[in-house]
């Protein structure tokens, strides 16, 4: 479904140094790793939001970087992207933000009533009350609500793939758990392939079929959650221990 082939990207220093990774259709896949190790960069190469210096990404057998330019447009239609800080458009209200998730040509030819129904449905799916927030601007929403609106925008176009870029960052543990349940439910209900980048290791291990870990720009681990927990690799073990300690501290503070 998604195939990263030798993806290399450097800014001032190399961030990804040749990552090979395959996410299968219908799978729920989590990508872990310390900060600055290139998880979000890898995710953005899927949609050509960041162009790798070397390597390629294939989505459904279509090459992002070595195929015709129209491939990018086709691939973007298949994918819903949930941004780390929601990335809602400041000047548009919730209705307009979510409606932007529909492809441009579809939005132009769909009657406004039908667009309103789809926006309404998408907001209900993410447990928001449409009547209360449709006309609100992003600045009037809480952090958790912004994330949900961002998710609604990503799913309203009925994508086949959802890319989640740290969707629980900045949320308290209760909201984190709620968003994780939502991710799990959406991936099942909508029958989509999900690639989740997260710092919440325990949450990722609970909801995903397979996980991988990036370390210093390379793929350090790829396997099931069980294999990840029992990995003999010292780097993986240290990461799991640190993540568990951070999660325990978070819970204690809350």
């Amino acid at each position: 479904m998604i195939h990263y082939r030798g993806v290399y990207k450097a800014f001032d220093i190399p961030v990804l140094t040749g990552v090979d990774l395959q996410v299968e259709a219908g799978e729920m896949f989590a990508l872990f790793g310390p900060s600055g190790t290139g998880k979000s960069v890898l995710l953005k190469t899927t949609l050509s939001l960041i162009v790798p210096d070397r390597g390629d990404v294939e989505v459904d057998g279509m090459s992002v970087y070595f195929g015709p330019v129209s491939n990018i447009e086709k691939i973007r239609r298949k994918i819903g992207y949930v941004f780390q800080h929601a990335a809602l458009f400041d000047s548009l209200n919730v209705f307009e933000n979510v409606a932007m998730g529909l492809p441009e040509d579809e939005l132009a030819r769909t009657p406004r009533k039908e667009v309103a129904r789809r926006v309404w449905d998408a907001l209900e799916i993410v447990n928001l009350e449409p009547r209360e927030i449709l006309s609100k601007l992003p600045s009037e929403l809480s952090g958790g609500m912004k994330k949900r609106v961002g998710i609604a925008r990503a799913i309203v176009g009925r994508p086949q793939i959802l890319l989640w870029d740290e969707p629980t960052t900045g949320l308290d543990p209760i909201n984190t758990a709620a968003v994780e349940r939502l991710i799990k439910r959406l991936s099942g209900d909508l029958e989509v392939t999900s690639l989740l980048v997260t710092h919440d290791v325990e949450g990722g291990l609970q909801i995903c079929d397979r996980v991988a870990m990036l370390h210093s720009g390379t793929l350090r681990f790829c396997g099931t959650p069980e294999e990840f927990r029992n990995s003999p690799d010292n780097v993986v073990r240290a990461f799991v221990d640190r993540a568990a300690a951070a999660a325990a501290l978070d819970m204690a503070v809350t």
Partner: protein, 265 residues
């Protein structure tokens, strides 16, 4: 301890090389943005409503500051011209001086500089914030073209609005200059306009409006270009906005200096 000469020379070459690279990078970026905007306009991807909205922000909302700037420019030109000319030349020459100064130079240039501060800085900061908060990436991920949505409407609005603003500034500046000439040196309005007509060429109006169209294109172009290249967080937005303002003012002054040899020969 002094550095060896070879290190100093190598350092100079490295600096020159970096400057060339940055200049070429900006030139390429501006060229690509111009081309992409033109393609978006020709392929009718630009929404008329967005252009009108930008024209309102650039035009109607700028009228008060343009009014004040043009009035003061007309008043000062009239006062200084009166001080220098009135004892040695016929009074109506003051009409020539004020009208020519305002139409040829002060109207277009001061309006452009006002727009750099009011609109150019705003566009760079707005787009820069959209870059660092991933809103531009969100547009792309949703299959939307940020150039058609954000850049082209601003460029079209700049080209359409600037000549109107300059026309307004010219009228206000000339009127303020005429009133000041009447108050300061007792020059009657008919004598003022007699002097204005005596040395008037219709070409001068074309010259002033040509400048306004070029400035109206350059200000949004540079501000969008700089905004879309913002990196980092709030600090990056601030830094980029400052650099954009310097870039726009320098470009306008250089273009302004190129107009006389090109169009006034």
């Amino acid at each position: 301890m002094a550095l060896p000469l070879s290190n100093v020379v190598t350092g100079w070459f490295a600096k020159i090389g970096r400057s060339y690279r940055v200049t070429l990078d900006h030139a390429g970026g501006l060229g690509k943005l111009t081309w992409d905007s033109a393609v978006a306009i020709v392929s009718l991807k630009v929404r008329f409503r967005d252009v009108l909205n930008q024209m309102y922000i650039m035009g109607i909302q700028s009228l008060p500051i343009v009014f004040v700037t043009a009035s003061l420019a007309g008043i000062v030109t009239s006062q200084q011209g009166g001080y220098q000319l009135i004892s040695s030349s016929p009074g109506y020459v003051l009409g020539t001086l004020v009208v020519q100064s305002v139409v040829l130079e002060l109207g277009p240039l001061l309006t452009a500089i006002v727009l750099v501060g009011r609109i150019g800085a705003r566009i760079t900061a707005e787009l820069g914030t959209m870059v660092v908060s991933e809103q531009i990436d969100a547009f792309k991920s949703l299959g939307r073209d940020p150039v058609a949505i954000l850049a082209a409407p601003r460029i079209v609005a700049g080209i359409l609005t600037m000549p109107l603003l300059v026309g307004f500034a010219d009228l206000v500046g000339i009127y303020a200059g005429m009133q000041m000439a009447s108050l300061d040196v007792g020059l009657a309005p008919e004598r003022f306009f007699y002097g204005a007509r005596l040395f008037w060429h219709n070409w001068d109006l074309f010259y002033g409006f040509s400048k306004s169209i070029v400035f109206g294109f350059v200000i949004p172009l540079i501000s969008v270009h700089m905004g879309l290249r913002t990196r980092g967080g709030a600090e990056g937005v601030g830094l980029q906005t400052t650099q954009a303002v310097m870039f726009m003012i320098l470009t306008i002054l250089i273009l302004d200096a190129m107009f006389p040899p090109l169009l006034l020969q």
